[in-house]
């Protein structure tokens, strides 16, 4: 089976954000594989181990993203592709990313493409379904279970807390939701092997893409931090009197009940 995983390098969830000059400062920040993409990588490896084939992880970014690709290879992916847009693309949005990925994937005859259901930085959740639409293949988002039996793919997906059971077939793009699996940590032998696994670097030219074709459709005008919350009130006294004070505050002061 020919399996591709779309991954994104993101800020570590532990990071506090600093905004200056209208941009989020990346200096000194730790980066990770987007946590939802880790579920996608884990699932891809599991599917390959059960059905044979090859797992290729693909990302768009600059050379820094090589580290996250090596991590995916250390987890067990077979090959990695970095589409380096550093010199060609100044502003990227979900349209841009999906276009580039679809151009890369269009002649790969992928049976299964996996991605995270959302990236924890931009949080748009668009790129996976957009890629599927451009490739004219079916997609299923926020999946929590995947079973492939011959031609049939049985999936459970999370829809706002409920579990929807469905059937579809390959080729298919799915996006991973938490609960799909427990991503493995790279083992030491895995990390050693990863250094020798193929990591291909491509630029837009290699994909015959003109910069104009991938111009972002949307524009970010400003990035800012939410206003700092004023310190709240810690109530005092016996617990029962605190509770009745809280109820009256919620009703009369905060007016939320």
């Amino acid at each position: 089976m020919n399996i591709y995983v779309l991954v994104k390098r993101t800020f570590d969830t532990e990071e506090k954000l600093v905004v200056s000059g209208g941009q989020i400062q990346e200096d000194g920040a730790e980066f990770i594989i987007n946590p939802y993409d880790e579920y996608a990588i884990e699932e891809a490896i599991t599917v390959r181990d059960a059905h044979g084939g090859e797992v290729t992880v693909v990302t768009i970014g600059d050379e820094e993203a090589e580290k996250q690709l090596r991590t995916a290879l250390a987890m067990g992916a077979d090959k990695a592709v970095l589409i380096n847009t550093e010199d060609d693309v100044e502003e990227m949005d979900q349209f841009t990313a999906a276009y580039i990925l679809a151009e890369y994937l269009k002649d790969k005859e992928a049976d299964l493409i996996l991605a995270g259901n959302v990236a924890i930085d931009g949080g748009s959740g668009q790129v996976g379904p957009r890629v599927a639409d451009l490739l004219d293949i079916n997609y299923v988002t926020t999946i929590t279970s995947l079973e492939i039996e011959g031609e049939t793919v049985k999936i459970v997906r999370d829809i706002e807390g409920d579990a929807e059971e469905l059937e579809t077939s390959l080729p298919l793009l799915v996006t991973a939701q938490q609960g799909l699996n427990e991503p493995r940590y790279p083992s030491l032998p895995g990390i050693m092997k990863a250094k020798k696994k193929p990591l291909e670097e491509l630029e837009l030219d290699d994909l015959d893409i003109d910069e104009e074709d991938v111009e972002a459709k949307t524009e970010t005008i400003e990035v800012y931090l939410p206003p700092k919350k004023q310190a709240g009130r810690i109530l005092e006294g016996e617990i029962p009197s605190q509770v009745s004070e809280l109820v009256s505050l919620l009703r009369s002061e905060a007016k939320v009940i």
């Binding site: 949080g123 668009q126 469905l166 059937e167 579809t168 949307t218 970010t220």
Partner: protein, 322 residues
């Protein structure tokens, strides 16, 4: 310049969702006086048309088909694109719901336009409209607009944009017949896991538990309070990892990002990842044994105490006054 705006109306358990009314209000702003046309897709949905008019839609188009009984991106995609072809809208608004999140990228891709998802506020009107959306799960915000001419397409986060007052208004409800074919996904079953049908993302009140809840049973008093207030129960990652509850309840940077009117955090210490998912709630109450817990830093009101003492008392107290 006024714009014609299409809004996707959604139903859940036999009623229109609030977020659809909020989407109409957002559409009104974007329209700058242009026409707002609501779209309803389903097996039998025309009965809901007038309600969308009452909340501000100028006109409603329904597409009814047995293949639209359950949502599939193929079925809904074909139906919605048929409406787009007929109406040629200049803007589109969906709710940022399970359906909205799944369908909007497909429609945006077909229209080759930008999609500004998970919008929480709109500045300006008509052609000058600029959209505000959280990034990094609410640790920061960005203002975004469409770069050039094209269909303005947004999804709005539930609970953030106030709906218009419900009024007697008049508007045409018409149906469009669409041939829906070649569905690549077959829905077999939906297993209800969410309690009482109150969805976390739309809940006005959330009672969330953390490691301090200590067990599956420990969530029962939280559920009781949530039921009383018409809210939903959520959880921190700690509680989910400890198997006290399902991952579908998790609130945080991984998990759901929520903005209810009232968020009660019980036995949650307040890891940065959890705070990202809830700190934009309108009012936050923290209940924790540890007076140094981080969660008190974002709380409007705090009670230092054992949640198993506080929550049942809170339920009793609310029962007295409601």
């Amino acid at each position: 310049m006024s714009k014609k705006v299409l809004v996707l109306g959604e139903t859940r358990e036999g009623a229109l969702r609030n977020v659809s009314f909020e989407a109409i209000a957002a559409a009104k702003k974007i329209s700058g006086g242009g026409e707002v046309v609501a779209v309803l897709l389903g097996e039998a949905v025309s009965e809901f048309g007038n309600e969308l008019v009452a909340y501000g839609a100028d006109r409603v188009i329904t597409v009814e088909h047995p293949h639209l009984k359950s949502y599939t991106s193929d079925g809904y995609g074909q139906a919605f694109m048929a409406v787009v072809d007929q109406e040629q809208p200049e803007a589109i608004v969906f709710g940022h719901t399970a359906v909205g999140k799944d369908l909007s990228p497909k429609i945006a891709s077909k229209l080759q336009t930008g999609l500004i998802s998970d919008v929480t506020d709109i500045e300006g009107e008509g052609a000058d409209a600029v959209f505000i959306r959280p990034i990094y799960s609410g640790k920061a915000f960005e203002k975004v607009k469409l770069k050039e001419d094209g269909v303005v397409f947004i999804t709005v986060r539930p609970n953030n944009i106030a709906p218009l007052e419900r009024e007697e208004r008049s508007g045409d409800v018409s149906s469009l017949s669409v041939d829906i074919t070649n569905l690549r996904t077959i829905i077999k079953n939906v297993v209800r896991k969410s309690a009482e049908g109150v969805d976390l993302s739309e809940a006005k009140v959330i009672i969330a538990g953390g490691r301090g809840v200590k067990s599956k049973e420990g969530f029962e008093p939280l559920q009781e309070l949530a039921d009383l207030l018409g809210g939903a129960v959520g959880a921190s990652r700690g509680a989910c990892d400890a198997d006290y509850c399902d991952y579908s309840l998790q609130i945080g940077q991984t998990g759901k990002v929520v903005t209810p009117d009232l968020y009660i955090a019980a036995g949650i210490s307040g890891a940065i990842q959890h705070m990202a998912g809830m700190s934009n709630s309108k009012v936050i109450v923290a209940i924790n044994k540890d007076p140094e817990a981080n969660i008190f830093k974002v709380a409007d009101y705090g009670i230092v105490g054992d949640l198993f003492d506080v929550i049942p008392l809170l339920t009793e107290e609310f029962k007295k006054v409601m």
